[in-house]
């Protein structure tokens, strides 16, 4: 009995061997490069020594069990963690070679370049039009009302929402259905023409049909944007992403081409996760 316990503990330790990330975590011509990043919430470390490149005009899926640090990692990329008082980030993170955490980097401008879509649709308490016009107005992107109209309409079109809302642009954003609200949030993000869009489980609060529409949209957006998406759904990761990164307990375990990760995972934990053994 005693013997069995020890050997089992041993095998778990073997599983929890986080020495180094397996797979192709570094690539050429990356949009965002993260090297040896550690993230702490107060004393508690949430991300351990993570290095990862995010490719230009690609979709990378971040997967892993709940609480493994996917959201935390995503939020370090546009400094949304600045709003959390005791959150600390170390390591090197660059956007097109510029240090994201440099003193000279203005987080406000950074977030205009690296936009974010959240898990729950969070339209502002404003009209559909004003929701989309919000970012362009703040950043002074339009010099005239006509130009602003133009931005709003193209953004809504790119988000695949325009046809559905063109007759009620003055209706409150909250009057839309959940899936429409999420597309409105995507349109809102697109409207400030970011270079990167971070999406934190953008479809997890939506029904299957709305989810399918969003997935299709993400695939189209890849043409113009670099996208990092956190998802709980294996199928979704497989459908929308070119690369997949698997996180476990704050460690980046394995990275690779999505097709390769799902057909031929190299790390035991990755295999366990994608075959549903845990998570």
């Amino acid at each position: 009995m005693q013997q069995g316990l020890t050997s089992e503990a041993g095998s778990v330790a073997g599983l929890n061997n986080f020495e180094a990330t397996i797979g192709e975590n570094l690539i050429d011509d990356a949009k965002i490069s993260v090297r040896h990043a550690d993230v702490f919430y107060g004393e508690k470390q949430a991300i351990f020594d993570t290095s990862l490149d995010i490719g230009r005009n690609q979709v990378i899926a971040l997967i892993g069990p709940s609480g493994c640090g996917k959201s935390t990692f995503l939020r370090t990329l546009n400094r949304m963690n600045d709003t959390i008082a005791d959150c600390r980030v170390s390591g090197s993170l660059t956007l097109d070679g510029e240090d994201i955490y440099d003193k000279k980097m203005d987080p406000v401008l950074l977030r205009a370049r690296v936009g974010m879509v959240f898990q729950k649709p969070n339209p502002f308490p404003k009209s559909i039009y004003d929701n989309v016009a919000y970012g362009p107005r703040i950043h002074g992107l339009a010099r005239s009302n006509a130009e602003l109209d133009e931005i709003v309409i193209t953004s809504l079109e790119k988000a695949g929402l325009f046809e559905e809302v063109k007759d009620r642009l003055t209706a409150p954003g909250t009057s839309l259905s959940g899936g429409q609200q999420q597309r409105l949030c995507i349109a809102r993000t697109i409207a400030v023409s970011p270079e990167v869009i971070l999406m934190d489980e953008p479809a997890s609060a939506l029904d299957p049909i709305a989810t399918a529409i969003i997935e299709e949209l993400i695939d189209e957006l890849r043409e113009n944007f670099t996208i990092a998406i956190v998802t709980h759904s294996m199928q979704q990761a497989a459908r929308v992403s070119q690369r997949t990164a698997y996180f476990h307990l704050g460690h980046l375990v394995e990275v690779g081409e999505t097709s390769r990760i799902f057909t031929n995972p190299r790390h035991q934990m990755t295999e366990n996760y994608i075959t549903g053994k845990f998570g």
Binding site: A112, N122, V192
Partner: protein
């Protein structure tokens, strides 16, 4: 037996009934399971025992004085009853005095009446005591009967609780309706003497009526416009101070301050609302008003020693917490997701607050402002002390003005006849004030609901 001991008896019997019902249910051994828990049966028995007894007791409490008065009247000889009304009233007073002091006097008739009174009281008390016992005990006996277990005690108790809650809310409603009607009737009497039109649109307020009927020249004028204008002026000044300061405070507390600072600053601010208004009043009269006067005169303005500005400023300080505390609550309740959404688009913190957080919190903020406004409109003491009593028709904040509530107080204090227009004017003012605050509240509710529809 005294009334309080009768209540104690009802309570005691109710408690015994609870124990009896509970014990019986706890010891129940039937073929079917009981529908409710033992203590439900306890409460049900207690209700059976005490509610009828309580109702009887309350009914008796309201009828006993009438009955006893009748008894006194019956004991009086015919000659005594045939006296003029005033003499009879005096006589009755003597009798009641004798009853209270429990002393025999010289007057045989009075002594006889007192004796009669005491005997009737004794009878009535014994009867009610016996009845209370009978009702209380029969409740307990009902609890001992087989009837108890046929009932679903929990459901019955819910019904009783519901009735009780309805009764409580009924009390509030009946009181409000009662107040409205009493004010309304007095106001109607006022409007018999003074025309409604003169009251609502008249621009001069000097409620001195003649003391003698044949006096000339001082019939009094009851134009309420200066009072309402004064009220609006002072309230507006108070809100101009309180709304921005309160709102900024709320924004700082909820968006920027550390949790520790907020935890101590918020209660400290709320103390402002707890300071007695008299204290604010003399602060306004002794510190703020002279200061304003000095400053005003140094730049060549003529400032009255009592001014609307002084009262308004101090009142504004007083109502800051109404705005800040409520706004802070609603701002903090705006979901973090809203802020994240805005920050994620590259908005700054202040842009986020201005364009997303405040609009989302607006219904609650409007509510806080309205609470503050109604507080300002109803405030009396600060105005008496710092803004004066002169009913000037002016919008100049440097002059003395008076408000509706202040005039109501001055009209009703001191020796007043209760049927002169001067006194009745207070009720008319009260009615007008009630109607205007009601309208204000309805408008506010409408605004809040409109925003709710849009923003949730």
């Amino acid at each position: 037996m005294s009334v309080s001991s009768l209540f104690l008896i009802v309570l005691g019997l109710g408690f015994i009934a609870f124990v009896v019902g509970q014990q019986r249910a706890a010891g129940y051994e039937g073929d079917t399971r009981l529908k409710s828990l033992p203590h439900h049966y306890g409460f049900l028995t207690a209700i059976w025992s005490s509610i009828p007894a309580l109702i009887l007791l309350l009914a008796w409490l309201s009828f006993e004085p009438v009955y006893l008065q009748k008894q006194i009247e019956q004991s009086l000889p015919v000659e005594a009853l045939n006296q003029s009304e005033e003499v009879l009233e005096l006589y009755m007073n003597n009798i009641h005095l004798a009853i209270q002091n429990n002393q025999a006097g010289d007057d045989e008739v009075v002594n006889n009446a007192v004796l009669h009174y005491q005997r009737s009281e004794l009878h009535s008390r014994s009867l009610i005591t016996a009845l209370v016992f009978v009702l209380g005990l029969s409740g307990i006996i009902a609890g001992l009967s087989r009837l108890l277990f046929r009932l679903h005690a929990r459901v019955s108790i819910e019904k009783v609780i519901k009735a009780f809650l309805m009764l409580c809310s009924g009390v509030a409603i009946v009181t409000t309706v009662g107040i409205v009607f009493s004010v309304l009737f007095e106001a109607i009497r006022f409007f018999e003497a003074v025309s409604v039109f003169d009251f609502i649109f008249g621009s001069s307020w000097s409620p001195q009526t003649s003391i003698r009927v044949d006096q000339v020249g001082s019939s009094g004028s009851f134009g309420a416009v200066p009072l309402f204008l004064g009220t609006m002026l002072i309230s507006a000044i108070a809100l101009i101070i309180a709304v921005p300061v309160g709102l900024m405070t709320a924004i700082y507390l909820s968006e920027y301050a550390s949790a520790r600072f907020r935890a101590s600053a918020k209660p400290a601010l709320e103390i402002l609302a707890g300071i007695p208004t008299v204290v604010y009043g003399f602060f306004a009269a002794l510190t703020v008003a002279p200061f304003i006067r000095e400053v005003g005169e140094s730049v060549g303005l003529s400032v009255a020693s009592e001014s609307a500005l002084a009262a308004g400023i101090v009142m504004g300080v007083m109502i800051i917490p109404f705005v800040s505390s409520l706004s802070d609550d609603v701002i903090s309740a705006v979901p973090q997701a809203m802020r994240d959404g805005s920050l994620g688009l590259g908005a700054t913190r202040s842009e986020t607050i201005k364009q997303v957080v405040i609009p989302a919190a607006l219904p609650g903020i409007v509510g806080g402002v309205l609470l503050a406004a109604s507080r300002a409109i109803g405030e009396t003491m600060i105005v008496v002390m710092a803004a004066g009593l002169a009913a000037n028709l002016t919008v100049n904040p440097l002059e003395a003005v008076t408000t509706v509530t202040v005039q109501i107080v001055t009209l009703l204090t001191g020796d007043q006849e209760f049927d002169s227009p001067k006194t009745l004017a207070a009720f008319a003012l009260g009615l007008m004030l009630f109607i205007s605050t009601l309208v204000l509240n309805v408008i506010a509710l409408h605004i809040v609901r409109k925003y709710r529809e849009h923003y949730e």
